[in-house]
Symmetry: C2
Amino acid sequence: VRAAMAGWARAVRGLLLDVSGVLYDSGADGGVPIAGSAEAVRRIKASGLKLRFCTNETQATREKFVKKLQGLGFDISVAEVTAPAPAACSILKERGLRPHLLVHNDLLPEFAEIDKTNPNCVVIGDAAENFTYANLNEAFRVLIGMEKPVLISLGKGRYYKETDGLKLDVGAYMKALEYACDVQAEVVGKPSKRFFESALAEMGLPPEQ
Amino acid sequence: VRAAMAGWARAVRGLLLDVSGVLYDSGADGGVPIAGSAEAVRRIKASGLKLRFCTNETQATREKFVKKLQGLGFDISVAEVTAPAPAACSILKERGLRPHLLVHNDLLPEFAEIDKTNPNCVVIGDAAENFTYANLNEAFRVLIGMEKPVLISLGKGRYYKETDGLKLDVGAYMKALEYACDVQAEVVGKPSKRFFESALAEMGLPPEQ
């Protein structure tokens, strides 16, 4: 086993790191770093390995997310982060899709460059307080009004924990819209294969490395 | 065909009638009767056939629902109505279940006699404006906190139309909770077999009549 591991380690030229729950524990106060993780990031970078941070964070722009992590002591920059919203933006551009957005207010700047007039798809993220009865009905009406509804979901998490308790995640609301419109959402973000592939492409490495 | 129909008609001793969309069209103003339907109800009753009204209405008590239909000119009484909430109440009593309710305020009186302390199940109806982010998280926490979550849904409709547009129905929110908790809801109301059977039992007739 050790020989196989050593062989594997020699082939590896880059790492994808999860963030929430791996580098830090989130919370209403901004969260706390997990012991040793900031040092681990420094050592990976010093070793010459390529590194990308791969997150399903959709409650904030990468800028805000990175600023928080820098404040917790991490050596991280916006250019090193792969996140669902920018991945969705590249899909929207590629396919000429104009989204109706049901996302967190703090995520809106990620879609600033995207044409949102006369929507021909719905993009749903972890909208949190924006998951109101009115907003869900509105997103539903946009979808059901399409000849062939296109629903893009920034993740498919079931729920997550915050300091004040468990919260339903984007996956639950995605299922509600899927059922109402009899469609299947296209999931951007982990564990979608395309999401990991785009992170690798950004590192310039093939999967086996 | 005519002979077969005549034979079938001779065997029939009772009828189950749908209400919304059959006897009247609903709307914010209370709705309008469908032409000829009030007269049809009178003729069925005059013919000596047994009659029950079978509805998936979960936004109001039977009392309120019947009062509205009487106002529209229908010969109908509370004792003639089979609806999901009372059907759910008989299941709750039978199984010793104490519900956490996520339902419309106007439906609450139907559950007045039910013990709701220390809940061991969740009952979801078309809660409309009560489908808030906070209320959905609360219902979810009650469910996920159970060793074996029990979710009872007063219907599984996808959506319906009101005068101000389409609205997501209880089925969509049921799917959200099902996914988040990895459970399957027990659906009370049409098209559940048990629901129709209880309507027949209330009429005192077997299915073939």
